[in-house]
Symmetry: C3
Subunit: 205 residues, 3 copies
């Protein structure tokens, strides 16, 4: 089930990434690359940081075809995808929590410290979007106050704590995905925001 | 012969990268760093993704001296290098296909899936230029429609398919370099372009 | 002693990074991430390039808490931190040379070529700031002429040459930190700058 959710999430990330690339008038290759980086960049960075090889898409390269296919299919469907704004926000929220849980699992498998398990979940959930924004030459959207990384962190903590308390893993996977998904949806609906640190004077001048 | 072409291509990449740094008024250190990232970044990223250590320039650090030397030599010669526009475009095209073939070889050596062999070639050929543009704070040039990554992909596919069909490796190296080089030169001469995905409405607002 | 200097330098880097994030109105998560990347990014990149695992902060995750704590503590103290401009420039200079010496040590431990030992020191000392500027969507400050990477290089060369000449390691650590720190402070005080490569004509057009 986690695997099916993973594929759906990856395809959804690829499609929203393709729209971001389209807004910058990129060519088809750029569209595919931005889609790959967004959908697979988080897991890739996590595996590099944890020295966890081979990478998911090196082991199973058909994931790359799925991502590029979803991205290219978005081009003729752009108007439709755009109209489906809410479904995609929900898929994106699902992706965030599914990626987080998968990242935590990899961290647990690698036997790292609990803090790093949570960090592995957060990197998997959020780094793809950050890399996309760097390649598109934006200040990463995730730093602008949306409750995104925080949802990933809470999901990871609840998931790991639940496992530690002896709750069966299937129950924890489902429970923390529902929790994180609900949190993220509420955050979008009610425009919950992280406090910002606004600071004006420039130290260097 | 591939090795000689590799050194020529690396030096040529370093020199065009130095001009890009000069256009942004970087200091000498910036010039060297941009040159190293452009000339060696593709191979480095490929090796990190494939867990293929030690990196080329860690094993043979004199490559770093070659790159920095070529970059610094470009400073007094800028006007001349600029006038040699065509030779440098050709050297850049040579670099693209040579890097691609080398990247495919590393992938084959590492025993990865054919799709990843092609990806290894493309990463080696194109990632250096993408990293250069990120550090120079541009949207990567490669996403703007030029037939660049596509040439790398076609070169890689032909090279790998030829080897698979039992053609001797020397012949395939020479053949696919000539093919890729010709394709890229024609693409520049006739301004062949990838189709773009132009999309205006912003989904997030 | 090197370890204490390391913690002080990391906390100082985190605090100046937090100010940079605040100037871009990032949220608290962005502040923590920019702080982690700035304070730990150099060492992380060095370890990835040298295949030296586990990463410092994966092995000792309390470093992450220190960095995030220092970054968040900067938010209410921003005005104060700003007024302490000189102490922070000095702490930043200390960080540069301490990171450089630590990076050289890792390189020596890994048994790489002397050139790569110096490069390992420079990456450790300077890459965090470069990554910070990329995430904040600036052309890296370090390329704008400040004598920063050069100080790192000189410190590394003196340190490694001293060890090679048989000087005891404790003496070399202290000596090269004092040397590098003095150099950097003088460079700030007298506005010493690297020569720049200013080049106007655009080759691609």
């Amino acid at each position: 089930m986690l695997l099916i959710a993973f594929y759906i999430a990856i395809a959804a990330e690829a499609m929203t990434a393709a729209l971001a690339a389209g807004r910058r008038n990129m060519d088809w290759f750029g569209v595919c690359l931005i889609a790959c980086v967004t959908a697979l960049g988080g897991g890739t960075l996590r595996d590099i940081l944890l020295d966890h090889y081979p990478l998911v898409w090196v082991k199973n390269p058909y994931v790359l075809l799925l991502v590029c296919g979803a991205a290219l299919a978005t081009i003729p469907l752009a108007r439709l995808v755009d109209r489906l704004k809410w479904p995609f926000l929900l898929l994106d929220a699902l992706g965030l929590v599914v990626f987080t849980v998968i990242g935590c699992n990899i961290g647990i498998e690698a036997g790292v410290h609990p803090i790093i398990v949570i960090v592995a979940g957060m990197v998997t959930g959020t780094a793809g979007g950050i890399l996309r924004d760097v390649l598109c030459n934006d200040i990463p959207l995730i730093f602008q106050g949306e409750l995104y990384a925080t949802v990933s962190m809470i999901t990871g903590i609840v998931y790991f704590a639940g496992l530690g308390a002896g709750v069966p893993i299937d129950l924890m996977v489902i429970g923390s995905i529902i929790l994180g998904f609900t949190l993220r949806t509420l955050a979008i609906a009610f425009k919950w925001e992280m406090p910002k640190f606004v600071y004006d004077r420039d130290m260097r001048k």
